[in-house]
C-alpha cells in the first residue's frame, strides 16, 4: 500500500506579531515546526505501511527550509520526501496550494491513499485536504478519527461529527484528513534520525510539474489579503478576592443582570 502524506511547516507559536511599519507579519526569530495535526497524518501513514507493506511518501510545499519538516517526517519512518519549492508558488492561497499539491501527486502517480491533517495551525482553514481530492476527483473523508479496516480495495473509517461519528466506506484510492484522536504519534528513533539526515530529498519546481501557469502562486489565488491587523485586546478583567463565600457572592452580583 502506497501512502502520500501532505504536511505543512508552520510557526511554532501562534503569538505572531505585526510589524507596525510595514504591516506585515514578523516571522524572524520564530522557530518552525510540522503542523501539529500533520503529526497524526504522518503516524497513520507509517502505521498503514507497517501493516500492509509499501511505502510512505511525505510531501510539502514551502520555502527551501521546509526541507527540515520533511527530514523530521522521514526520521519517524516516512520513506521518501518531496519538496515543492519555487518562487512561482509564493503567495498561494488554498486553491493554488491544493492545485500544486494535486499536480505533484499526479506526478507521483502510484498511490492508494493521501493523508492530511485536518487543518493547519496557522491558517486553520481545513480547505487544502478536500481541495486536493477535488482537483484529483478522489473520494474523500474528513475528520477521520479511526480506520476500522482496509480490505479488497475498500476502506471503512470513522468520521468525527459534532454529535459523535459516522462510519463510512469508500474505495481506494482516496483522501482522508485526520484528527488527533486517531493515534498517538511516535518519537523518532536514533536510527531514523541518522537515516533521515543523509536521505535524499527530491525538490520539484513548477517546471517539473505539468501545470497551468495561471493557476499557481499569487496569480492562481482568487483570494487576496487586503489588510491585517491586531484584534483589540480583551479589556482587563475584574478579580474577586476574599473568602470563597464573599468572592462567589461578588461574582453572582455582577452577573445578576445577565439573562441565562
Amino acid at each position: 500500500m502506497n501512502i502520500i502524506v501532505c504536511i505543512k511547516q508552520v510557526p511554532e507559536t501562534t503569538q505572531v506579531q505585526i510589524d507596525p511599519k510595514t504591516n506585515t507579519l514578523i516571522r524572524e526569530g520564530v522557530t518552525s515546526i510540522i503542523n501539529p495535526f500533520d503529526m497524526y497524518a504522518i503516524e497513520e501513514g507509517i502505521r498503514l505501511k507497517e501493516k500492509f507493506g509499501g511505502k510512505t511518501t511525505v510531501i510539502t510545499m514551502g520555502p527551501p527550509q521546509a526541507e527540515c519538516a520533511l527530514r523530521e517526517a522521514m526520521s519517524l519512518g516516512c520513506d521518501e520526501g518531496i519538496l515543492l519549492s519555487d518562487r512561482a508558488f509564493a503567495g498561494s492561497d488554498t486553491l493554488a496550494t491544493s492545485y500544486t499539491l494535486a499536480m505533484a501527486i499526479k506526478k507521483i502517480k502510484e498511490f492508494d491513499m493521501i493523508i492530511c491533517g485536518k487543518q493547519a495551525s496557522d491558517g486553520d482553514t481545513a480547505q487544502v485536504g478536500p481541495g486536493i481530492s477535488a482537483h484529483l476527483d478522489l473520494p474523500q473523508l474528513t475528520y477521520v478519527r479511526k480506520i476500522e479496516e482496509i480490505k479488497d480495495g475498500q476502506i471503512v473509517a470513522e468520521r468525527m461529527t459534532e454529535e459523535g461519528f459516522e462510519i463510512i466506506k469508500m474505495p481506494l484510492p482516496c483522501l482522508i484528513t485526520v484528527v488527533k484522536e486517531i493515534n498517538e504519534p511516535r518519537l523518532p528513533s536514533l536510527k531514523g534520525m541518522m537515516r533521515s539526515k543523509n536521505a535524499k530529498i527530491n525538490t520539484w519546481k513548477a517546471i517539473d510539474l505539468e501545470m497551468e501557469e495561471d493557476r499557481i502562486g499569487l496569480k492562481g489565488s482568487p483570494t487576496q489579503v487586503i489588510k491585517i491587523f491586531t484584534p483589540p485586546a480583551r479589556p482587563k478583567g475584574q478579580i474577586f478576592d476574599g473568602s470563597p463565600d464573599e468572592a462567589v457572592e461578588k461574582l453572582l452580583d455582577v452577573l445578576k443582570d445577565l439573562t441565562i
Partner: protein, 398 residues
Amino acid sequence: MSIKIISEKCVGCQICVKVCPFGAISMVNKKAVIDLDKCTLCSACVDACKFSAIVLERTFSKTQNIEQYKGVWVFGEQKKGIVQPVVYELLGKGRELAKKLHTQLSCVLLGHNIKGQAQELIYRGADNVYLIDAPEVANFLDEPYTKIVVNLIRKYRPEIILCGATTIGRALISRVAVKLHTGLTADCTGLDIEEKEKILLQTRPAFGGNIMATIVTRNHRPQMATVRHKVMKENERDKTRQGKIIEEHFDNSFYTSRTKILDIVEEVSSTINITEADIIVSGGRGMRGPENFPILEELAKTLGGAVGSSRAAVDSGWMPYSHQVGQTGKTVCPKIYIACGISGQIQHLVGMQSSKIIIAINQDSSAPIFNVATYGIVGDLFQVVPLLTKGFKEKLKR
C-alpha cells in the same frame, strides 16, 4: 474563451447532455454538439466528460461574465431533517448583505421529506429556497452534495455563498470552491460589503486569533465564505414573510456516491454538544481526577450548559476528546465560559478567547487564564464551584 467538442473522441455517451445546466448540448449523428447561444462556458460538461472530448480554453485569472453573478446564497445544512442553527445565523447576515447589494437572499436545501423546513427558511429571511428533496441526499455525502451544489451555482450564478464552518460545511464547500475555481475564506468573523466595488469584505482570525486579516475575492465568482456557529446573529422568525420554494430535480448520475454511510452514531456524553452551548463549564488539570467532574456537570446542568475540558484532562483520560476545547480540540464561542482549574495555555486560549464572558477559577493568581478572564476568582475550585452552583440555583430558582 472558447469551447469545442473533439468529435473523434466523442463516443456519444450523452453524459454531457445530462449535466449541462442550460440544455445547450444535443446529439447530432451520435455526437455531442454545443449550442453556443445557450452555452455559458460553465465547464460542467468538461468536468463530466470521461473521454476528454470537450475542450474549454479558459483563463483562470478571472471569472467570465462577472457582472452576471447576482444574489446571496446560504447553504442550508440539515441533519436528520433539521436545519442547523448556524443556517439561521447565516440568513441573518445574508439578509444584511443582500440589502446592501439590492439583491435577493436564497438558500439551498438538500434532504429528504424536508419541505416544512424550506418554509421555515423563508420565515427566517430567505427570498428563495432551492429545494432538492430526494432519499439519496437525506444525509450528507461529499460527492452528490458537491455535484448538485456546483450545478445549481453554475445555473443561477450567485455572487456570494455563505456556509457554516461545520464538519459538513468545511468538507463540502472546499470541494465546491475548487470545482468552480473560485476563492473561499474560512471561519469569517466579520462580513461586509465594500461600498465602491460592491465586493465582499471577509475578516477572519489567523494564528489562533492573534492576527486578523481582511480578505477579498475580487476577480472570481462566487465569493465564498464559511462562518462558525454563534458568530452571526439570527433574524427573528417572521411568519408573514413570503418567498418562493423552487424544487430542483436531478437525474441519477448526480446522486451516485463512492462513499457510503454504514452507520451514524451519536455519542455526546452528558449534557449538550459544546459547540452549540451558550454556557460551557470547563475543567482542566486542577480537577485532579475524573471523579471530580460531577461538580462541573452539576453547575452546567443548573445553567443549561455543557461541560468542556482542557487538553490536559483529555490526555489524562478524564474526559472524552469530543469535549476538548483548544487548538487540537474544538473552538467555542459561548456567552459564558467558566474555566475551572485551567491554567490557560495559549493552545487552550485560542479555542475559547472569543467567548463573550470568561470566568476563571484557579488557585494560582499568576495563571495566564486570568489575562483573558472577564471575572476571576483566585481560590480552591472545590469550594468555589459548589458555592457558585448553589448561588445560581437560588437565583434561577432551579
